[in-house]
């Protein structure tokens, strides 16, 4: 499988108050076409920095990100970055948000896509609602729909379910897998939740603390839908816990 995205020797150093902090240290990662890759690591380790670099919002101090063989030089509508639900525009309705990126398309096509993705994320009846009237989970769906509506090849998701309650989070994971099953975008998903990573990803890249390196890449060889009590699931999950030096006793 040819690599859709390849991050080569990514190093990132931030200068602050005359001190330089190395956040990313020689990161290499390849993501295949249509693959769902999760990146886990301790909080503050630089996962989001890596994702921002892949999406073109930050340029690395050294190294390069290539997508389809071309170096990434900036953000691009073919690759949409999804934040936590706070990225939804509060001044637009659900429809307006989903339509936001479609301004280059003819009107009937815009209408068609807005309707299609409202249905896909299950927000029928809320077309004219403003984000302030929606729950956190619904806002997150709006943001995912806004991203999908422009037909991106890739989605970068930065802890998208981090602000949701645990029940909604579980539902949203199922929704995301269902949507991914239908659309097959390439997905890079950053999370600090190991369970989430093992439930969603084809592969899980485990990052170390700062300066972050990729410690290990784990293949999650369990077909969807995944049984969260199967021995294989628990084995993979526990392996990552161990890799991060976490005891799973409370």
């Amino acid at each position: 499988m040819p690599a859709k995205l390849s991050a080569q020797h990514i190093t990132m150093t931030f200068q602050r108050d005359g001190k330089s902090t190395r956040v990313l240290d020689d990161i290499g990662l390849e993501v295949g076409q249509g693959e769902f890759v999760c990146i886990v690591g301790p909080s503050g380790c630089g996962k989001s920095t890596l994702l921002s670099t892949m999406a073109g919002f930050l340029s690395p101090t050294s190294g390069a990100v290539k997508i389809d063989g071309d170096a990434v030089t900036g953000p691009d509508p073919r690759r949409i970055f999804v934040f936590q639900e706070r990225g939804v525009f509060p001044w637009l309705t659900v429809e307006g948000n989903i339509d936001f990126g479609l301004f280059r398309l003819p009107r009937p096509e815009r209408r068609r896509r807005v309707d299609h993705y409202i249905k896909m994320v299950g927000l029928e009846g809320f077309e004219k609602a403003y984000p302030a009237e929606l729950s956190g989970g619904m806002k997150q769906r709006v943001e995912v729909a806004r991203a999908l509506a422009v037909n991106p090849d890739m989605l970068f998701l930065d802890e998208p379910f981090g602000a949701l309650d645990s029940i909604t989070r579980l539902t949203m994971r199922g929704e995301l897998l269902r949507i991914w099953g239908a659309e097959r975008n390439t997905i890079v998903f950053v999370t600090h939740d190991i369970d989430e990573a093992v439930q969603l990803g084809d592969r899980v890249a485990v990052m170390s603390d700062r300066p972050a390196k990729i410690q290990q890449i784990v293949d999650i060889d369990i077909p969807h839908p995944r049984d969260l009590s199967s021995p294989r699931y628990l084995e993979l999950r526990n392996g990552i816990f161990k890799q991060l030096g976490l005891a799973h006793k409370v």
Binding site: P75, F81, R86, W91, F100, R104, Y130
Partner: protein
Amino acid sequence: MNSTAEPKNWEKLFWPVLACALFLALWHYSVVWTATKVFPSPLAVERGMAELARKGLLWAYIGDSLRRVALGFGAATALGIPLGLTLGWYPAANQVVNPVLQMLRPISPIAWIPIAIILFGIGDITATFLIFLGAFFPIVVACVSGVSNVPSMFRRAGRNFGLTPPQLLARVVFPAALPQIIIGLRIALGIAWLVMVAAEMIAVDSGLGYLVIDARNSGKRYDLVVAAMLLIGVIGLALDICFRKLKDIPSVRWGFRHES
């Protein structure tokens, strides 16, 4: 009635009306008991207003004052919003211009009267210019801070969808800053209405501000002075209420969640 209970509809009207009635009664009896010859009673003021209406001055003066405020405030909005957005958008430009703005801002428009008269003579333009000055700075400052407070996440999302900088300004930064801009406009309109009185006292011979000074100068008509004061208060309140309605527009309501 406790503080969490939603006031009933009749209560929303009843208590303010009662308070006004009490205020008028207090005023009336104060005049009667002190037997003052100078300060007019509410009834005298009412007669004064009726007299103005008969002479056709009441609506003419109200119209003139509103027109000057509309022009001065309108010009301040038309110039202040683009300037404020530009300065907020280009922090480097703001660093250059900001010290001058901050120095001009605390100068009361009243201090500009001599300069304004040299520049524009005595007349409508001077009065409108002073009102403009009063409204201009709060609008610029609100726009600058509105734009710089736009969460970077919104700008990033806009750039991600391929917006050019002008599109980003129009479709993301402006709507995101709009609630704060509206607050600035409301403050500016309040100031414009205050400045109107002073401006009309010195520069023109019509309007509510002129009525205050003219009624005193030509025959010490304190009933008309107080009538003009009441009109200024009531119209100012009405303008503010209209402006407050703006925050019920759906696309800006999100910015006023934590306000009453």
